[in-house]
Assembly symmetry: C2
Homo-oligomer: 87 residues x 2
């Protein structure tokens, strides 16, 4: 049995690694510049987050599904803007 304290650490970790990409998405949207951002990183990362989402659905983990839907939207946003403003 995982204690409430340990669960809280995991919950806080999930929040951080999800909201972390908001400033990057905002920056790329605002500056319209993405030269320093790695294209393979965001292709592989988006695919990985998609797999986490599938995994979350298969094991019916609501927190995993919710966190990964949000992260997938942010990473696809960054990926699309990376391709659009790659200069």
């Amino acid at each position: 049995m995982i204690s409430d304290f340990v669960q809280s650490i995991g919950f806080l970790a999930a929040i951080c690694t999800t909201i972390a990409f908001l400033p990057q998405a905002w920056k790329i949207y605002k500056t319209k510049s993405s030269k320093d951002i790695s294209l393979p990183t965001w292709i592989i990362f988006s695919f990985g987050v998609f797999l986490w989402l599938i995994y979350g659905i298969l094991i019916m983990s609501f927190p995993l599904i919710l966190a990964n839907i949000f992260t997938l939207l942010l990473s696809l946003f960054i990926l699309i803007f990376k391709i659009k403003y790659n200069k």
Copy 2:
């Protein structure tokens, strides 16, 4: 009981979201340019991955510990180079 197929999806997801940051780390190292990279993103992400590592240690999950040590090293590398070459 989680099936082998489902476990494989989770394993592949973990590999993708870990190795994804290798090309970004390589790019920032090679170009010495990090203008388009968001500083708050890599501060929050590194902190989140650190919490995932603590969570992995607390629940004694070897895959979680291993994946997050690797991701933490990559994200700290990107964070340090972001600060160093922020031009």
